[in-house]
Amino acid sequence: MDLDLASILKGEISKKKKELANSKGVQPPCTEKFQPHESANIDETPRQVEQESTDEENLSDNQSDDIRTTISKLENRPERIQEAIAQDKTISVIIDPSQIGSTEGKPLLSMKCNLYIHEILSRWKASLEAYHPELFLDTKKALFPLLLQLRRNQLAPDLLISLATVLYHLQQPKEINLAVQSYMKLSIGNVAWPIGVTSVGIHARSAHSKIQGGRNAANIMIDERTRLWITSIKRLITFEEWYTSNHDSLA
């Protein structure tokens, strides 16, 4: 096996050399070949030494700065947590539809979404015995990246608008259907979904480029983390529907 791979390796290397030589066309003379090599060798050594020295200095400075910042952050952590809890209590959870599209109210809207998701999760935790206890932990784990982005106000604007619309319809009485429709727009939107036969021949087709284009992907197709929290939002919608019906029946 090694001999076969070695012979194949040598053959492919020589083949690639020929291809590169043919692509260049006219080959330069031998004297011109030697001169750039010598200059490159002379120039490379001091640059490497300089790079190593600068890298070492930067590493030491960065390490000390990182250590100091982490120490200060750890010391101030309880105070910052208390401040965050106090701020969370002052913010109301009700989402104003006029704030959904505005850029000025984006941080407040982000925090409202965060707190409302926490509220739904607390309700689910309270009624854990009656409604799908096996899904609760997975849902919390999947929602953690979303809650972190909402708290830091780092979620993309289009995702925040769609998410706020879903949560707004959840807050209104008897608008579960609108919430589900908003969820469909959040997850899939108007993008063509890649279904059906996708590997017919080797030629590119116009419809295929629409489906497989990188910038035309639906939100649920962005990456694994986003897909997980979007499906967890659907779980929250379903729980809210169950909770509302049970709450009305009990009342």
Binding site: I13, K16, K17, L20, R215, D223, E224
Partner: protein, 242 residues
């Protein structure tokens, strides 16, 4: 997942490792995107390769990632973390080379101006992805111990090297929606450090690993000892070839 829900995946590799298909180490969405990309269909499907073994894939790897000193060509392919890189990585996972093939490719000699640095980077990422579950507890499994020794030697070896590689930033996923096309130059030790410490690379999650701990003092001494063993193995290979 619902009880009555089922799905058929025609792209799962038939080879198994650790009692599951080898292609399942990459998440579903990433796997679909790789399989649906044009480069994979044209160059890496079984019909295009005219086979499904390492012999056919080696030709594609050398054509895409092998470099010849003094001659520059196919520059758009020699990028770590791009679509071509991920496609070849996916095909490597599906084919699952054995120990002899891995040992040969990781110890390729750079003769006649040939440089295999991109292939080595590809194989290091492959080893970290595919064999994350290995541990040295099972003393009876010699194959597993050989793999651990090989991977540790290579990781420690290339953590001391400084050659440059063109790459996407290691935290960037080239399939992501908000992805901006920017390239950077990284050194091989930065890649090794990332593989040893982080839990994802170019949008692909990395499993929890026990054999990539190369920064402890005990591990360094054992790695250096195994490195000497690796050198002796190389000498044996040369003698067998001659």
């Amino acid at each position: 997942m619902a009880v009555n829900e089922f799905q058929v995946e025609s792209n799962i590799s038939p080879k198994q490792l650790n009692n599951q298909s080898v292609s399942l180490v990459i998440p579903r969405l990433t796997r679909d995107k790789i399989h649906n990309s044009m480069y994979y269909k044209v160059n890496l499907s079984n019909e295009s390769l005219r086979g499904n073994t390492m012999v056919e894939l080696l030709k594609v790897m050398i054509g895409a990632f092998g470099t010849i000193k003094g001659q520059n060509g196919h520059l758009h392919m020699m990028v770590l973390g791009g679509i071509e890189f991920k496609c070849i990585l996916m095909k490597l996972i599906e084919i699952r080379p054995n120990f002899q093939q891995l040992n040969f490719l990781l110890n390729v000699k750079n003769e006649n101006g040939f440089d295999s640095k991109y292939i080595i980077a590809l194989l290091l990422v492959y080893a970290r992805l595919q064999y994350y579950y290995l541990n040295g507890n099972n003393k009876n499994d010699d194959d597993e111990n050989d793999l651990i020794k090989l991977f540790k030697v290579q990781l420690y070896k290339y953590s001391q090297h400084y050659f440059k590689l063109k790459s996407f930033p290691l935290q960037v996923d080239c399939f992501a929606h908000s992805y901006n096309e920017e390239l950077c130059i990284i050194h091989i030790d930065e890649l090794v450090d990332w593989l040893a410490t982080q839990d994802h690379i170019w949008g692909i999650p990395l499993g929890k690993c026990q054999w990539n701990k190369i920064y402890n003092s005990d591990e360094e001494s054992s790695s250096s000892e195994s490195e000497s063993n690796g050198d002796s193995e190389d000498d044996n290979d040369t003698s067998s070839e001659s």
